[in-house]
Point group: C2
Chain length 501, copies 2
């Protein structure tokens, strides 16, 4: 057999193992019986080790070397597959096996330590773990190679290929300069919405039916997916014909399920609409965390919080929960679901202040890896930054430095994708308006097919064939530009809070 | 590392892959989205090939050879693991890889051909496939080695280690001699039960709630399993902490879900109560098809169709379906669910006539493999035997020779396990009565824990550590004996149909 054929078979096998692992994770999070978890974890461990062994094998190395010789003669899909597999090979191979294993054990212990530390709101308990994780990660960066003289760039590149601190400093800077004063004006505004009616009892099965209605409207393909319940919602693309959404129903706050489902649907539409020719290959997934998040945030914010969308759907929501919403005018509903208020917890933040939470984490990560900050100083730094950017100060570590699990798992460079996705989404929305100037009208009539088609054409179908900034540039005609998001937020919140009046 | 340690790691890895495959099958049959099935099948194929490769590898052969040298020094679990893996190795290895592959393709095509032939009720369409499957199987038997001069014994041994035509001829002969006249008497009896009330509408969610109540009563551990819906119900033991049951709700015939669930629960209790020390090994499953079926039939017939069981549960059933059962006395209900009537279709047969369906298949399989029968004559032979044993004659192939999928998949030697399981169950019941003379009382009070404990002690916990006949002999003090089943049926049906009066 030719080397390229062998190579494709080999990566398809790795991909098949990953799909099996993906299903096991989905199952663990949607209803696997408690007593089977230990043995199931062994099975996941066995398959994961096999994937890692395949990813770093001499057999793969020999194939990659052989293929490199004829790189220019390859068809585009094989070539991109080669590039992706080669990158993963090098990332994995450069870490000595024993150090990698030690790191896996360290992060596993660290996550438990974090959990306990958060419960007791005591950073000191978590400190030694975090310190070691940062040190190990620094060492890994030195193995991988420092990009553009900045170790943090190496980490950013892992989640968002091509992203650098230079780009982020600029866009985050602009964004902060425009969001902070806006948030301040909102806080000082007399026009605060009433929100108490959001928290009435909305039975789970009604929420579910409404969620299913909305998913259908957004174009989610139920023959290529399903909706289940879980504690921490997620979407998972096992293959393009099996992209599952999970959600959580809070009977006293319907927003969790509805906006969560719309968010996960954005992720799912991406994976359901990847080109068929990529099936079974490692390219059959989103190209980066940021682009993925751009799809979920596009739907959550630009569709799900759009006034026209509710023009179409509010009567239906009222029918599912007549006592809760029957007497509430749609304007009051829109004001309530778009309330903006500075808060301490990222995952509860609103559309406007959310990017500020991300910037704080970005600045801290950058500071840790370029040597400007020390782990022991983080609680203080964190609290000061919250006060500076959001005007609120955590009173303890649990609602401050300890709130997120990411660092306990060694995920540095991940946070910026959340804000990047938001900026990408805003840019895509602006570009979409040129082709679909009737966007609001489409939302108002519930005909969202053209929106999905546009995103599929520009983003979804490419899978990982293109890099994030390539997708963005081809779709919008320019590189990352924070202005679109800033303008969107200024327009929307000035109007909602009547800041000009 | 020592060879035995390497060996155990190796078989645990095979077992881990099988568990992942098991979960994927469960998922495919309980709600996997249609469009993902093709790619999921590829994943299952990839993992299955890997298991087969591991099962027949030179690496395994070398380990087995090494271990054999010190067989007597091994602990019992490692020794039995060795024996099982060695047997599987030899079974797989003796078939040339290309012939095995051809057989897999053949049976896959054959199952499609069977489906179409059954739809059109035309045996001729299926005939060439069946002929080739029988010929291939005969060749495989010659590779495996003929047991006791009878090729069919080799096939029996695959599903029921130690089982032979000599044993089966004897027990099936006795059983037939006692069931056939009994069925005849019942058919001629004037005391036929009324059954029309069984077929009223019983809403699915009520059936489900009742099923869950019953599962709880039988001792099914919901922390080590779950109940889902499917088209063709099954139980699957992924590991002892994750043993799932599936069922099918027919709103016009509640018996399908209730007795089906009790049946699958019997299978599930077996797998949930296998000794913990076998976890992760190939011994952590039922020892044979027959013993497995003994557990499902024990619960379905000796518990689920027991009069005392309904003394405890009938009021509850009435509460779930008051319009259907509120005015039906429990005696009428018991007479209806225990109705016996000769019929053409095995899976719809009652407790009494079911073994006759099996014997017909057994005699045909035996005839095919010892050369007494030809594939082309099967429809005629089938119909004649149905007339002789059951007094009914199929009017077409669909309700005759084509009704079961088993032969299309190449499963010869499997059918006898169904009747064997029934005989095992009867013997176990008789032995259990010595330790639990209050069995009926336990059913009447819903306290079925002692029943499960007894079966766990005698059967469940051993997993595949003991051979079927070993389990039977140790639990009951004797080998296979058809008298227990015959006596049970005679007593029960003479009473129900008042044949002595």
């Amino acid at each position: 057999m030719e080397t390229t054929e062998r190579f494709i078979d080999y990566v398809k096998k790795m991909q098949a193992y990953s799909e099996a692992i993906g299903l096991m994770y989905w199952d663990l999070r949607t209803g696997a019986p408690r007593k089977g978890v230990n043995q199931r974890s062994e099975v996941i461990g066995t398959l994961s080790s096999e994937v890692f062994a395949m990813q770093t094998s001499d057999e793969l190395a020999a194939m990659l070397e052989e293929i490199e010789k004829n790189l220019e003669t390859l068809d585009p899909i094989t070539k991109e597959t080669y590039k992706k597999v080669k990158k993963d090979y090098e990332m994995s191979k450069k870490i000595p096996a024993n150090e990698y294993k030690a790191f896996v054990i360290l992060t596993s212990k660290s996550e438990s330590a974090w959990e306990e530390a958060k419960e007791k709101s005591d950073f000191k308990m978590f400190y030694p773990y975090l310190k070691e994780i940062v040190e190990t990660t620094k060492r890994f960066v030195s193995y991988w190679g420092v990009k553009d003289n900045n170790p943090y760039n190496t980490l950013l590149d892992e989640y968002e290929p091509g992203m650098t601190t230079e780009i982020l400093d600029e866009v985050f800077g602009e964004l902060r300069n425009r969001i902070v004063p806006l948030a301040k004006k909102i806080a000082d505004s007399p026009n605060q919405p009433t929100t108490d009616f959001l928290f009435k009892t909305f039975p789970k099965d009604k929420q579910k039916q409404f969620s299913l209605d909305i998913l259908k409207q957004l174009g989610y393909d139920f023959e290529a997916g399903r909706l289940d319940e879980t504690v921490h919602p997620f979407a998972t693309g096992l293959n393009r014909g099996d992209v599952r959404i999970t959600t959580k129903y809070d009977e006293n706050d319907f927003r969790s399920a509805i906006f969560g489902t719309i968010h996960e649907c954005g992720h799912a539409l991406y994976e359901q609409n990847i080109s068929e020719e990529l099936e079974g290959l490692p390219l059959a997934g989103g190209t980066s965390m940021g682009i993925h998040e751009s799809q979920s945030l596009f739907y959550e914010n630009f569709v799900g919080r759009n006034e026209k969308f509710w023009e179409h759907n509010y009567a239906r929501l009222q029918a599912y929960a007549p006592e809760q919403f029957g007497h509430i005018p749609v304007e009051d509903f829109l004001a309530a679901i778009n309330e903006s208020k500075s808060s301490l917890i990222r995952i509860e933040a609103d559309e406007l202040t959310y990017p500020l939470h991300i910037m704080i984490r970005y600045e801290i990560e950058k500071g840790l890896f370029n040597g400007d900050m020390k782990v022991e100083d983080l609680p203080q730094i964190w609290n000061d930054k919250y006060e500076e950017y959001l005007g609120v100060r955590p009173s303890n570590d649990a609602e401050g430095i300890l709130q997120d699990v990411h660092w306990a798992g060694g995920a540095f460079g991940y946070f910026p994708s959340y804000a990047l996705g938001y900026m990408y989404a805003s840019q895509l929305k602006a570009a979409m308006l040129k082709d679909l100037p009737n966007f609001d009208e489409l939302c108002a009539t519930g005909d969202l097919e053209p929106v999905k088609t546009w995103l599929t054409e520009k983003v979804h179908r490419h899978g990982s064939m293109k890099k994030p900034l390539e997708i963005l540039t081809e779709a919008t005609g320019e590189g990352l530009n924070a202005t679109y998001l800033a303008e969107y937020l200024e327009e929307k919140y000035t109007r909602l809070y009547k800041l000009n009046s």
